[in-house]
């Protein structure tokens, strides 16, 4: 009997221990397991997190689209250099029917990454307390709207027809993804819808953003106005383009005097850290090897463009360096140093937009004022002779030439200008390339001014392909 009692006692001890153990675990277990696995991991949920998502310059400012430049007439690649290029670059340069050959289309993908991350932020913001008075909240929301709009705009430059008021409601646009849910399928919108969304978001962002940002990689009211000016210009809405260019320049008029620079060096412009006064918003392009600044680059400045620079034009030396012993020149003058192409907004472009709009509206003196203000900062001080043209058409042409000379490798700007100007027969150009005895021609308003939608979108998402 005593033996049995002892056994009962032992059992009680076991049960007690087990019970305590499980009791402890019952309460503490979830707490104990509620620790993240990797120190640096974060599941963005606070305002600070969302700002940190948007501050990732690699995704938001580092991979702008640039494929249009490959097809534009500011650069040319020699036959032997093109032989040595890979197929995608060759396809883009020769306006081939297919460009990507099934490989990832980074111009498309990188911009849609910006769209996805912006959507993540916008959805996350909707979940936290709407403290719409706080400047931080307003900045995050405005920034996300801006980044998404700019990404959509860059996609429109490449993958749909230019905005033509008469047909925009029918022309196929891009998928306007406004949700971060990857399971959601979004088909192509129309061009009109795309521009409406882009402009609407930018106008909303303008009300939220600060005038001048903490870092130039963040957007601001000035940046929004600059982008709106660029977009309206591409839509050939010259009134609005002038309005927004003016708004931006009123607040941010600085120009960089090239006379103060050592223009012979490899990177003559103040780097990001030393803040170039012209930069309103900083971004650079993702690199295609032939476009990169540096001696290995195989793209050269088109000789007909190069010969338009006068000898007193400082840009001739600041922008270009001679390629070895060949006598050809390659581009080195990007506002993004270290071999990247600049893809942000600068006051130089805005002066040119405002000048063009003024000239087109007949306000020639305003146009000349802006043009000469810019050129004064580009020519050798002692040799500069202000432009004076009395004929409206001649002035518009001259401003367009200066635009090409000022922004030769500025991402897709030239490509977008070609798409825009081809709509006016007086400015339309036919591009040609000669390669291994075959002449390749790109007529104005050719279907090949619209790049093919990447294969994976056709196969996995069933998007409609562009005719080429």
């Amino acid at each position: 009997m005593k033996h049995i009692q002892l056994t009962y006692f032992r059992c009680a001890v076991i049960m007690l221990t087990a019970g305590l153990l499980l009791f402890a675990s019952c309460k503490k277990q979830d707490e104990w397991l509620d620790r993240k696995n990797t120190k640096s991991d974060v599941s963005p949920s606070t305002l600070q997190d969302f700002q940190a998502v948007l501050d990732n310059t690699t995704s938001f400012n580092g991979q702008g689209s640039v494929m249009g430049l490959m097809g534009a007439d500011n650069l040319y690649i020699t036959e032997t250099a093109l032989d040595a290029e890979d197929q995608v670059n060759r396809n883009a340069y020769l306006w081939a029917k297919d460009i990507y050959n099934g490989t990832t289309a980074y111009d498309w993908y990188n911009d849609y990454r910006v769209v996805e991350f912006s959507n993540i932020v916008l959805e996350g913001l909707a979940k936290i307390k709407d403290d719409s008075e706080s400047p931080d909240y307003r900045n995050v929301k405005g920034s996300a709207l801006f980044y998404r709009a700019y990404a959509f705009y860059q996609l429109c430059q490449l993958y749909c027809k230019p905005y033509i008021a008469a047909t925009a409601a029918d022309d196929p646009g891009i998928p306007l993804r406004q949700s971060s849910d990857v399971n959601q399928r979004v088909q192509r919108s129309t061009v009109a819808d795309a521009y409406e969304l882009i402009i609407g978001d930018l106008k909303a962002a303008a009300l939220l953003l600060p005038e001048i940002p903490l870092y130039r990689t963040r957007p601001s009211t000035v940046a929004v106005n600059a982008l709106l000016a660029k977009i309206y210009l591409s839509m050939r809405d010259y009134d609005n383009a002038q309005l927004y260019a003016d708004a931006a320049l009123q607040r941010f008029p600085a120009l960089l005097d090239y006379n103060t620079l050592t223009i012979t060096t490899a990177d003559p412009f103040p780097t990001f850290a030393k803040s170039n006064p012209e930069i309103i918003y900083y971004a650079n392009c993702q690199g295609y090897l032939p476009l990169l600044n540096g001696g290995s680059s195989s793209s050269r400045i088109s000789p007909d463009l190069f010969q338009t620079y006068e000898s007193s034009d400082l840009r001739k030396t600041a922008y270009y360096a001679q390629s070895g012993t060949t006598g050809y020149y390659f581009f080195k003058g990007s506002y993004a140093a270290s071999g990247y192409l600049f893809d942000g907004f600068g006051t130089d472009e805005l002066y040119l937009i405002r000048a063009e709009c003024a000239a087109r509206r007949g306000d020639l003196s305003a146009a000349l004022n802006d043009l000469n203000l810019l050129l004064k900062n580009r020519y050798q001080k002692t040799l500069f002779v202000p432009v004076s043209i009395a004929d409206q058409d001649a002035l518009v042409s001259r401003i367009l030439l200066e635009r090409r000379k000022e922004l030769p490798y500025m991402a897709n700007t030239r490509w977008d200008d070609l798409r825009r100007l081809n709509q006016e027969s007086r400015f339309a150009v036919t591009l040609t390339r000669l390669y291994h005895g075959v002449t390749y021609t790109l007529e104005p308003n050719d279907n090949r001014y619209v790049l093919p939608i990447p294969d994976d979108e056709i196969h996995l998402e069933g998007l409609a392909q562009n005719p080429r």
């Binding site: 509620d34 120190k39 032997t80 993804r177 290995s296 996995l460």
Partner: protein, 1106 residues
């Protein structure tokens, strides 16, 4: 107060659904406790008890049968003990055990109530009889799952520094994938063991495909190289659910339980001393077909030069990209600085050079590995102990690379009270891996446009003076550097080899403590704790004279062209890179064990709870301008601004990384396991486990997953009706259950915090696609097994059939890129694998001359039953050599583009499109549905195993092991058919170049297409992934031969040792048959990879026992 808390604790558990498991476990404890009480009460004075041990080793034998007149009355438990109720008349009992000579036990009522039975082994090789799961040790006769045991003798058949490499060819169902044992893992998940058990159930690269490694009682997280194989007593491989479910969520790919040597109580001191040395042949550098000999390479260079391929680089006077000596010579001819005849003579002199001769002479050597081990173990009535020390020194086949290791371990079990065992253990290992050779095959780089070194490069001239190889910049630019005021900018591989000072030092300390309290003979509680701490320190000192240091300083040196004044933006001196990785794992376990037999019933049960925490931290930092004499470096550098660099452009100084990376894994587990045996004929096992882990982001209730298994065993040969005399042992087993797999992924959007180099702001990068539906992977296992042995054990074996179904498998699903992601991780696949694991032992000759044969045969058929990742045009290329999953096919299916002969007019490769011969390569690639492709077969063997023969005569023994693999295909490399790839790519060069189509008629005897320039990517992709390049992988390999002589100390009176063995062991003897006709070894990755076959090795050694 405490009782109240307990009750409240229990109440809080019961109503919640997710606590059903806890409740079951508690019920189990109740059951165990009450049974223990009942059984104690039933025992009577008529009880007969005893213990069965192995006569030679003294080890207790579990599962021995005590029978009377053909009826079994008792069996020994895990400690070898048995008991039964004696009869009232004198009787004779037989104590029998498979593999041992039976013994008779004379029983007289009232006398000899405790017997010690020492059974003599009758088998040629010791038959291992217990299996360890890491939670308990069981008699193999009482398990229903699939266990494979590798005993000490079999384990030590081969030599090797790493434990796992000794398992190759001796464990059934275990396959080596040829990627094992490389390097030191410095990340939590960086360990790749390169083995799989019964194939793989996991698809994703983000989920560990490794089996779980358990050393003694706890999972081992450190580097396998830290462990000394001489400390290993035995290894158990757990293959099915019944075996592995006890390990829960991490056992989806099987478990390997390593049991180390320990002392036993009442055992005289035993000393083991062993030493061996292994010498490997110089590796065969000429095996690799991914090589273009100098003459061919020069031909390609000359041709590309003529076509202007190098013009951009030749004209480059800014970044000065490096070009090979041949291109430089051709350029000089073009510029008229040398004559064509002169250049031809110099180029022709290069044609006969072969860099592989240089590698063989200067970079490689025969590897030598030495291993020494001393072990002591024994015990007194109150305690047992073990102590061991081991030392390894390996000289790698790469000159100046090597490994050395010191291990020390000690363990002690002390019993201060009758019912209490206190266990302590310590294991210390420190090792150094030297990585000074950076000039091995394929490790030399030149830089764009020539990534790999040219095949006519020379390391030294006839006088032995070190020569420079082009690297980083044009040779002419480098030649001028010194006169311009720079440091010498040339790269001499042999100087680099001599200067290198790069080592990884790893230290590991494992501390164990345990308490075992026995409440009575049947019930004991076990409390165990283990702490494992591993540090891996990397130190790479690049001396001021090294190329890396000179190059960095030169790049950032500004030399004033007028005054010649030099400004060093990066200070002169060396570069020191230090890294530190710390792993700390703590494990605690409380477990109750119950083991009792009464009448015809016998129960073994356990229940327990376990907590595990694994933390890792690591950092790496670089010091520039480092002076090794005083240990000083320059700190005040401008890392944020782009500075002008040579030869051209701007760059920022590489900044020291100040970030600390850290990881934390937490697991909490509850488990219970019951085995019930009736009359030694029927066994039932049940096992349940609930695991929780801190999977980041997953909803709390998904952090915990329940896994379970059940098994049945039937000992047919013990049935009354069983009268098959020639097959006295026959047993059938069946098990069913689930294993899991942890994926450290996230259901939510996650990213990592970083510091932005442009703005200095804190930013979030690496944002991953969210998946709120992420679940744990589950693997359903069914295992059916039959164990049998003929009379006298002449013929014995195991046949198992298994079905392994993976559910909710995590995979990377390709996404349309407008989602912002290219892939996304989801539970979107199911697989079904099935196959046989067969082990057959045959004792062909048993006289003085003995001959034993062991055949291991495994089959594996796996099929993807559900797969939501659609095929895309890049599916083939993204899964290069390994194969891809496709519904209805193998997990690793090799698909290829349909191949038709070469175009006789152009030598273009031709495929098929819409049933017609086609050269529309883009069209073929875009037509990517599996039905349009040709299915070539699985990429993993479907039938494999080993065939071993052991011969012995007196003390001499010879053992020969063959490995075989059948039923799979592999994709081989060929030459790139875009000519520029032959100089610009890291891959693309291949001896097939010599068979390329060059003129009409060549298509009759070659399938290598013509080369084209400019490059045509789609044409090349089509060829590389066409059916023409897929080969049958079947092969038979002579793995190893072992020769030994055993000397028993008893036979020789004047020797100081008990037993001794001297042996010699030869391994990697090579393929003796292969299905492919090209001399390729299918186990070496041939596709877009450079492979050096494992060289033939020969070992000599001895083992002594005192």
């Amino acid at each position: 107060m405490k009782t109240k808390k307990c009750v409240r604790g229990l109440l809080c558990l019961i109503p919640k659904r997710r606590n059903v498991y806890s409740y079951l476990i508690i019920s189990c404890l109740f059951l165990i406790a009450s049974l223990a009480r009942e059984m104690d009460a039933q025992e009577t004075a008529q009880r007969v008890t005893g213990v069965v041990t192995d006569a030679q080793t003294g080890r207790p034998l579990a599962g021995a049968t005590v029978s009377s007149a053909g009826h079994s009355v008792a069996r020994s438990d895990s400690s070898g003990r048995f008991q039964f109720t004696g009869t009232t008349v004198a009787n004779t009992y037989e104590i029998s055990f498979i593999g041992y000579k039976a013994q008779l036990l004379k029983y007289t009522p009232g006398k000899n109530l405790f017997f010690v039975v020492r059974l003599e082994s009758e088998a040629f090789a010791l038959r291992e009889v217990t299996v360890s799961t890491g939670y308990q040790t069981l008699s193999k006769e009482r398990v229903t799952g699939s266990f494979d045991q590798i005993g000490n003798r079999l384990f030590n058949r081969s030599t090797g520094t790493n434990i796992l490499e000794r398992l190759n060819g001796v464990a059934s169902g275990l396959r080596f994938t040829g990627t094992a044992f490389n390097g030191v893992a410095t990340t939590n998940t960086g360990r790749i063991l390169g083995i799989n058990i019964r194939g793989e159930a996991t698809l994703s690269g983000n989920v560990s495909k490794d089996p779980l490694i358990v050393v003694d009682n706890f999972p081992y997280e450190g580097n396998m190289a830290n462990l000394n194989p001489n400390d290993v007593e035995s290894i158990t491989v757990l293959k099915d659910a019944a075996a592995a479910s006890i390990w829960g969520a991490r056992a989806g790919n099987g478990v390997i339980v390593i049991t180390t040597k320990k002392g036993r109580k009442n055992q005289p001191m035993q000393v083991d001393l062993s030493a061996n040395v292994t010498v490997a042949k110089r590796p065969d550098l000429f095996y690799d077909r991914n090589f273009l000999p100098s003459s061919d390479y020069i031909g390609v260079e000359t041709d590309l030069f003529k076509k202007g391929y190098f013009d951009t680089y030749l004209n480059n006077t800014t970044t000065r990209p490096p070009l090979s000596p041949v291109i430089d010579l051709l350029d000089q001819v073009k510029k008229g600085t040398i004559t064509a005849v002169d250049a031809d003579n110099r180029i022709n002199a290069l044609r006969s050079l072969d860099i592989r001769d240089q590698y063989a002479q200067y970079a490689y050597r025969p590897a030598v590995k030495q291993q020494y081990a001393l072990g002591v173990h024994g015990g007194t009535a109150q305690q047992s102990y073990n102590f061991s020390i081991g030392y390894d020194k390996n000289l790698d086949q790469l000159v100046r690379n090597g490994f050395d290791r010191l291990t020390i371990s000690a363990g002690n079990v002390y019993s201060p009270l009758k019912n209490l065992d206190i266990t302590t253990g310590i294991y210390y290992s420190r090792n150094t891996t030297s990585l000074n050779n950076n000039i091995g095959m394929q490790s030399l780089t030149v830089g764009t446009p020539l990534p790999g070194v040219y095949p006519y490069a020379q390391f030294a001239d006839a006088e032995g003076d070190h020569l420079a190889v082009t690297k980083g910049y044009r040779a002419a630019y480098v030649a001028d550097a010194v006169s311009k005021g720079f440091f010498d900018w040339s790269y001499r591989p042999l100087d680099e080899l001599a200067l290198a000072d790069n080592a990884t030092r790893s230290a590991e300390l494992i501390l164990k403590a345990g308490l075992k309290y026995s409440f009575n003979r049947h019930l004991h509680a076990d409390l165990q704790y283990q702490n494992e701490r591993q540090t891996v320190d990397t130190r790479n000192y690049q001396a001021p004279g090294s190329f890396a240091a000179r190059d960095l300083v030169n790049r950032f040196t500004i030399i004033d062209p007028v005054t010649g004044v030099k400004t060093y933006q990066v200070p002169k001196g060396g570069i020191l890179t230090l890294g530190d990785y710390l792993l700390n794992s703590s494990n605690g376990r409380l477990q109750l064990n119950y083991d009792q037999s009464f009448g015809k019933h016998s129960i073994i049960a356990l229940a327990g709870a376990e907590l595990r925490e694994l933390t890792t931290t690591s950092y790496q930092r670089t010091s520039l301008g480092y002076d090794d004499t005083y240990g000083t470096s320059s700190m005040a550098l401008n890392y944020s601004t782009s500075l002008p660099v040579n030869p051209y452009g701007t760059a920022t100084i590489p900044s020291p990384d100040g970030s600390i990376r850290g990881g934390l894994n937490r697991f909490v587990s509850y488990y219970a396991n019951v085995g019930y045996t009736y009359d030694d004929r029927y066994e039932l096992t049940l096992s349940g486990r609930k695991d929780g882990a801190n999977i980041f982001g997953v909803r709390t209730n998904d952090r915990v997953t329940p896994l379970w298994s059940a098994g049945l065993g039937w000992n047919m040969s013990r049935e009354q009706f069983y009268h098959v005399n020639w097959l006295p042992h026959l047993r059938a087993r069946l098990s069913y259950g689930y294993n899991g797999n942890v994926y450290n992924g996230s259901a939510y959007v996650t990213g990592t915090y970083q510091t932005n180099s442009l703005t200095g702001a804190t930013v979030i990068a690496n944002i991953s696609a969210p998946n709120p539906e992420l679940r744990w992977e589950r693997v359903k296992n069914i295992n059916m097994g039959v164990d049998f042995a003929s009379k006298g054990d002449r013929f014995s074996g195991t046949i198992e059939y298994f079905i392994k179904n993976g559910q909710d498998l995590i995979q990377n699903v390709p996404l349309f890129s407008s989602s912002g992601y290219l892939t996304f991780t989801g539970n979107a696949a199911s697989t079904r694998s099935h196959g046989f694991d067969i082990t057959l032992n045959s004792r062909n000759l048993t006289g003085a001359f003995k001959w034993n044969t062991v055949l291991l045969l495994s089959t594996l058929k796996d099929k993807v039953t559900e797969y939501n990742a659609p095929f895309t045009s890049t599916s083939l290329t993204q899964n290069a050599g390994g194969g891809i999953p496709a519904v209805g096919r193998s997990l690793y299916s090799v698909f290829a583009y349909k191949w038709s002969r070469l175009d006789p007019a152009t030598g273009d490769p031709q495929g098929e499109l819409a049933g017609k011969i086609s050269k529309n390569y883009s069209g073929i690639i875009a037509n990517f549905k599996p039905d349009s492709l040709q299915y070539m077969g699985p990429a993993r063997p479907t039938l494999y195993g080993s065939f071993r023969n052991d011969f012995s005569y007196k003390g001499f023994a010879v053992s020969v092991n063959l490995l075989y693999e059948f039923g799979f295909v592999f994709r081989r490399s060929s030459t790139s058919i875009s000519e520029a790839d032959l100089v610009s790519g890291n891959f693309g060069q291949n001896l097939d170049y010599e068979q390329r189509w060059q003129q009409a008629g060549d298509e009759l005897h070659t399938s290598v297409p013509s080369l084209v320039y400019p490059s045509n990517t789609t044409r090349n992709t089509f060829y590389q992934y066409s059916a023409a390049l897929v080969e049958n992988g079947a092969n038979i390999r002579l793995q190893d031969i072992r020769l030994s002589y055993d000397l028993s100390g008893r036979a020789w009176k004047h020797v100081p040792f008990k037993n001794a063995q001297v042996f010699s062991y030869a391994s990697n003897l090579g393929l003796i048959w292969r299905a492919n006709k090209r001399g390729l070894d299918p186990d070496l990755s041939n596709f877009n990879a450079h492979a050096i076959p494992l060289p033939f090795t020969l070992s000599f050694g001895f083992n002594l026992q005192f």
